[in-house]
Structures are given as structure tokens and as C-alpha cells.
């Protein structure tokens, strides 16, 4: 976005055309590599070859293990701070604009402060230490 000027969406699309091109090249590269691999390699599967590789030991049981609930709290903390971070972007674009300034700064820090209380609580409850 180019600031105060009228939005010029031609340049907007031009920017993302580059992104799109990179994505397409990336996909094509991976597809070509794997495609070439598949075309060139011999395929002679045996039962042993199809086993999951587990450091040279025969795999035991299923690949599925029930995880401990503490992982979920970490994932949730990640969500909270992702949401938190996402508001920093619009905030960063406007807080220097005329008419915003201190009030906006305080608003953001109140928001961050509330969430910091949550982090404080998590820390005191020992969520952040790995036992």
C-alpha cells in the first residue's frame, strides 16, 4: 500500500504477480524433481522396504500416540499471541498518523497488557516450564 495517495491497484497486483510466480516456480520445481525421480527410478517394493524407518529397529505398534494436554496449552498460547500480533500490523500503520499518537499507543498497550496478564498467570501456574 502506498500510503496517502489514491490506491493504485495495478502496482498491488504487480507485486502479487511476483509472489504468484515464485509459488508457481516452486510448485513446478518440486513437481519436476519428483516426476523425474519417479520416471527414472526402478520400483521394486518388498515388505521390508515399505516398513516405516525407525532408526533401524523394526517399528512397533501404531504411529498414533495420544499426546499430553500440555501441548494443547502451548498451541493455544500460540493462537493467543498470533491474534495479538495480527493487531500490531494495523496499529503500526496508523499510530504515527495525525490524530492518533498517544491514545492509540495506550490502546494497544492496554490490549497487550491484558494478554500479558494471561501470560503471567500461565507462568505462575507452571505452564511455561517443562516438567
Amino acid at each position: 500500500m502506498n500510503g496517502m495517495a489514491q490506491p493504485d491497484n495495478a502496482s498491488y497486483y504487480a507485486t502479487y504477480t511476483t509472489v504468484l510466480t515464485v509459488i508457481l516456480v516452486g510448485v513446478a520445481f518440486a513437481a519436476a524433481a519428483f516426476g523425474a525421480n519417479r520416471l527414472l527410478r526402478p520400483t521394486r517394493p518388498t515388505r521390508e522396504k515399505l516398513l516405516t524407518y525407525e532408526s533401524g529397529v523394526d517399528p512397533v505398534g501404531e504411529g498414533w500416540a495420544q499426546t499430553h494436554v500440555r501441548y494443547y496449552v502451548f498451541a493455544y498460547l500460540y493462537v493467543v499471541f498470533a491474534v495479538d500480533a495480527i493487531y500490531l500490523f494495523p496499529w503500526a500503520t496508523v499510530f504515527a498518523a495525525p490524530g492518533f499518537g498517544w491514545v492509540t499507543l495506550v490502546e494497544m498497550f492496554v490490549f497487550l497488557g491484558f494478554i500479558a496478564v494471561g501470560l503471567l498467570y500461565a507462568w505462575r501456574k507452571g505452564v511455561l516450564t517443562w516438567t
Binding site: 494436554v69 498518523a97 498467570y121 501456574k125
Partner: protein, 520 residues
């Protein structure tokens, strides 16, 4: 929304801190109590939390009373501070204070609160037994409770759909959690929390979709903007209709109106009884407040579109609440169906409106207050009738209670009579106010159905009274626990309010009449 497109129109927001102070106090103290929970040693937590909760709610109540007469849109139009809001804030705060008393009760269950010793310890495990033996308490219920109260204060005051949605989530999320934190019968409690959460999330999604539709219709989400768009007939009717219907689903779910009532019996039964009392009274008050504001202020001009839908919902709700309550054998489930039936009576008052909304608004305000006091009192009595496994909620256990414990049974009988709408109780005045407002609004068929439903409903309330007083008590009946001052006060306030509002309803009716002004 279009005004913010130009950079030079940016201006910093004004928040009328004095006017939204009750909200800020409740949220602020909720955060303080999270900090207290984090840093205080375990033995200080419970007294600190009780003091903080009671203090903040009382302070918020005082400020609310001091705001009387305010009439403005605060916080950049996000919330409306008017008589309607202030009346509901006062009611919700009073009910919350009574609910905190129930939450804090320790005497009836051997010196610990009615909440799980360790919410994270699975039911029936060694870990749970150990937590029980150590007499642990999950005092996080108090901050969560305060968060819910804050959401409930914001909900009926919200003056745009976004604020309303945020408030809906803030009030719901802590309630989902609180429902699952019972000390006894934990699986039932967790099941209740799960059901409430899943269905509640579903209802929120409906609300959100309806919100998007209404935005599509009006191009704004502020209530006055939507009202203006309806008046100017600028938008597309289909969007308005679909949006109204979807938003109504979200709100009617919270109210517990049929056919969105399915969660009510299970959740009311499974949740800790103090939380059930709080939900039955305060959630209903807050949700009705939001419903009235949204439908009267924003969608009032489209009344002819939504009235038929609410008619059907009201009739269904009355039918489901009154008839299914007859078949219940658990007192908490019966009270749950009773609360559904009451939602139906309130809906009659809500939908029976022709030109002047103020009569209907004040009738509903009065009804909500009367119903809230009686409901909290009734659930408080339920917490007292106990046996070895906790509360004895099966109706067969209540047989002959009047002979064993005449005072408790009489108090319960009073609340049941109020629910039934017997004259000289608050329930009668509430029903009278609502029915007469709806009659004047031209909804006489609904009033007739409402009266029939009252008669049916009276039957199951009276059945419980007959059980308590005119049957011989079983040999090994439940005991009636002696409560501490907390529950005693809660019950006493309920009794006093029920009797006073039944005998001298005028002051509150006048207050409600003066409060029935919605800023639009």
C-alpha cells in the same frame, strides 16, 4: 465506515469513562483477580476472590445507580447508556452479587466450595481423590464469573452488531467453562459444558452469519444505521429477512426459546447449581436486553417481517416449556423447563407490540427482575437438600420435605408459587404486566395461549408443593444442610423480593416504566 477511507478524517476516539465505569470496574477487577490467583498463596485465594468479586460488583452497582438519568451513546457509539441499559445493569449486578454468595458457599459441602477440587484431574482417578483429600478448591471460578458478568453488562448495552457479538462471546465462554467445574457428579457436569459449548458455538456462528447479512443489507452494523436503511428501503429485503432470522437464532438460543432450547435441561442439570442459578437469571436478563435493543431499535421498522416468526417461537416455547416440565423427575430439569416456559411468557410481551414499545419494554424489565430473584432463590434452595452423593435433585427425594424441614420447604413453595404466577407473588405481577402489554399490542391470541400455558405450568409447580407437604417422608430421606450466611442471605433476598414485588410492585413498575426509553 466510508468516512475512514480518507486519512485526514482520522480522529482519536473518545470514551466516556465515567459512563462506562461499571463495565470497566467489573473487567478491571476480573483482571486483578486473575493476578491474585497467580500470585497469592493458596490459603489466601478464596477470601481474596470473594472480597474482590463482591466489592467490584457492589462498586459497579453504586456507580450504576449514580448514572441514573444518563442518555447517550458512549465509546464512539459502541454502547448505549440509557434507562434501559442502566435498569438491566442494576438488575444483573444485584443478581450477580447474590450469585457470588452462592458461589462462595462452603458450609453445605463440608467446608469447600461446590466447584471441582482440580478441574484437570479426571473424574474417578487417584489424582482427583488426592485433590479432594487435600481440600483443594478451584478459585479461578471467581475471575471467570466476573468475566461473564462483564460480558452480560456489555450485551444489552451494545449498540452495534460487532460489540454485541463480542459481548456474546465474553459472556458465553466463561459460562461454558464454569458449567464443567462441578465438584460432585463431574461427568454430568463435563457433559453439560461440552453440550453447551458445541451448541453455543453453533448459535454464535448463526449470529455471525446473520450479522454479515445485515451488514450486506444496510452497509453498516450500527443499530441506528440499520434502522435508517430499513426506513429508507435502500437494501435488499432478502438479506434483511435472512439476516434477521439468523441473528434471532443466536439470541433465542441464549434465551432458551424453543426450538433452540435443547441444551437447557442438560446444562441446567449438569452445571454446578450456583452457576445454574446465575445462568438462569443473568444470562436470560442480558440476552433479553440484547434481543429487545436489537429488534426494537435496529429492526423495529421491519416489525411486520419478524413478528410472525417470533409468534411461532413464543408458542413453541410455551408448549415445550409447560408440557415437558410435567414429565420431569429431577428438580433441576424441571426448573430448566420452567425457565423455558418463562422465556415464552417474556416473548409474548416482546412480540405483542404495535406502536409503543415502552409499555412492552417496561413490562419485560419488571418480569425479568421478578423472575430473576425467584430463580436464584429456588436454585439456592436446591443446593441445600443433600444426601451422601451431593445434592438430592430427584423429585422422589423431595417427598415429605415439608415435614422434615418446614422452613426450607415453605421457601421453595413460595418460589414455586411465584413461578406459577399466583396472586400476591412477584410472578403474578410480572405475568400481569407482560400479558396486558401484549394484549394492548394486539397479540390477544398469544395472551390466551399464555394463560393456558400458565395453568398447565401451575400444575407441575403445585405437584412439587404437594410432594413436599402432603406425602410421608421416606425413611432415608435427604438431609437439609445448614448453610452459612452466604446462602442464607441469597435465599432471604429472593424471598423478600418475591413477597415485596408481589405486594408492592408499584415502585419497581414505575422505575421500569421510566427506564423503558431506548436510545436509538
Amino acid at each position: 465506515m466510508t468516512s475512514i477511507l480518507l486519512a485526514q478524517e482520522f480522529k482519536s476516539p473518545t470514551i466516556e469513562y465515567a459512563k462506562v465505569a461499571p463495565l470497566l470496574i467489573v473487567f478491571g477487577v476480573a483482571i486483578v483477580s486473575v493476578i491474585a490467583e497467580a500470585f497469592l498463596p493458596r490459603r489466601f485465594r478464596y477470601p481474596t476472590q470473594v472480597v474482590l468479586s463482591l466489592g467490584s460488583l457492589a462498586a459497579a452497582l453504586v456507580v450504576t445507580v449514580g448514572l441514573a438519568g444518563s442518555k447517550l451513546l458512549a465509546a464512539e457509539g459502541a454502547i448505549a447508556i440509557d434507562g434501559f441499559t442502566l435498569f438491566l445493569w442494576g438488575t444483573i449486578l444485584v443478581m450477580s452479587i447474590i450469585s457470588v454468595l452462592l458461589l462462595a458457599e462452603r458450609a453445605v459441602d463440608g467446608g469447600v466450595t461446590a466447584f471441582a477440587a482440580q478441574a484437570a484431574a479426571l473424574p474417578g482417578t487417584e489424582a482427583e481423590r488426592e485433590a479432594q483429600a487435600r481440600r483443594l478448591e478451584q478459585t479461578e471460578v471467581f475471575p471467570l464469573f466476573l468475566f461473564a458478568v462483564g460480558g452480560m453488562l456489555l450485551f444489552p448495552a451494545a449498540n452495534d452488531l460487532l460489540t454485541m457479538f463480542v459481548a456474546l462471546e465474553v459472556l458465553s465462554l466463561p459460562l461454558y467453562l464454569l458449567c464443567g467445574l462441578a465438584r460432585r457428579r463431574r461427568l454430568l457436569s463435563q457433559e453439560a459444558a461440552m453440550k453447551y459449548f458445541l451448541l453455543g458455538a453453533f448459535a454464535s456462528a448463526f449470529f455471525l452469519y446473520g450479522m454479515a447479512m445485515l451488514y450486506g443489507f444496510a452497509g453498516t452494523i450500527s443499530f441506528s444505521g440499520i434502522a435508517a436503511a430499513i426506513g429508507a428501503k435502500t437494501g435488499v429485503d432478502g438479506l434483511l429477512l435472512a439476516g434477521t432470522a439468523l441473528v434471532a437464532v443466536g439470541l433465542l438460543f441464549k434465551i432458551g426459546a424453543a426450538p433452540f432450547h435443547m441444551w437447557t435441561p442438560d446444562v441446567y442439570q449438569g452445571a454446578p447449581t450456583a452457576i445454574t442459578a446465575f445462568m438462569a437469571a443473568c444470562t436470560k436478563i442480558a440476552a433479553f436486553g440484547a434481543l429487545l435493543r436489537l429488534f426494537y431499535v435496529a429492526l423495529g421498522a421491519a416489525r411486520w417481517d419478524w413478528q410472525p416468526m417470533i409468534w411461532v417461537v413464543a408458542i413453541l416455547t410455551l408448549g415445550v416449556g409447560s408440557v415437558l416440565a410435567l414429565t420431569q423427575s429431577d428438580i433441576k430439569r424441571m426448573l430448566a423447563y420452567s425457565s423455558i416456559a418463562h422465556a415464552g411468557f417474556l416473548l409474548i410481551g416482546f412480540v405483542g407490540v404495535r406502536d409503543h414499545i415502552s409499555a412492552n419494554t417496561s413490562a419485560i424489565l419488571f418480569y425479568l427482575a421478578a423472575y430473576g430473584f425467584a430463580t436464584i432463590g429456588a436454585f439456592a434452595v436446591v443446593t441445600l437438600v443433600r444426601d451422601a452423593s451431593g445434592e438430592a435433585t430427584h423429585l422422589s427425594r423431595w417427598v415429605g420435605l415439608g415435614k422434615r424441614s418446614p422452613i426450607v420447604a415453605s421457601v421453595m413453595a413460595l418460589f414455586l408459587l411465584a413461578f406459577a404466577g399466583i396472586p400476591l407473588t412477584s410472578g403474578f405481577m410480572g405475568k400481569w404486566a407482560v400479558f396486558s402489554a401484549a394484549w394492548q399490542g394486539g397479540a390477544w391470541p398469544l395472551v390466551v395461549i399464555g394463560v393456558v400455558a400458565s395453568v398447565v405450568a401451575a400444575f407441575f409447580y403445585v405437584r412439587v408443593i404437594v410432594l413436599m407437604f402432603f406425602s410421608e417422608p421416606a425413611a432415608e430421606g435427604p438431609t437439609v444442610a445448614v448453610p452459612s450466611v452466604f446462602t442464607s442471605v441469597a435465599v432471604a433476598v429472593g424471598v423478600a423480593a418475591t413477597v415485596v414485588l408481589g405486594l408492592m410492585p408499584e415502585p419497581l413498575l414505575q422505575l421500569a416504566a421510566r427506564a423503558a426509553q431506548l436510545v436509538g
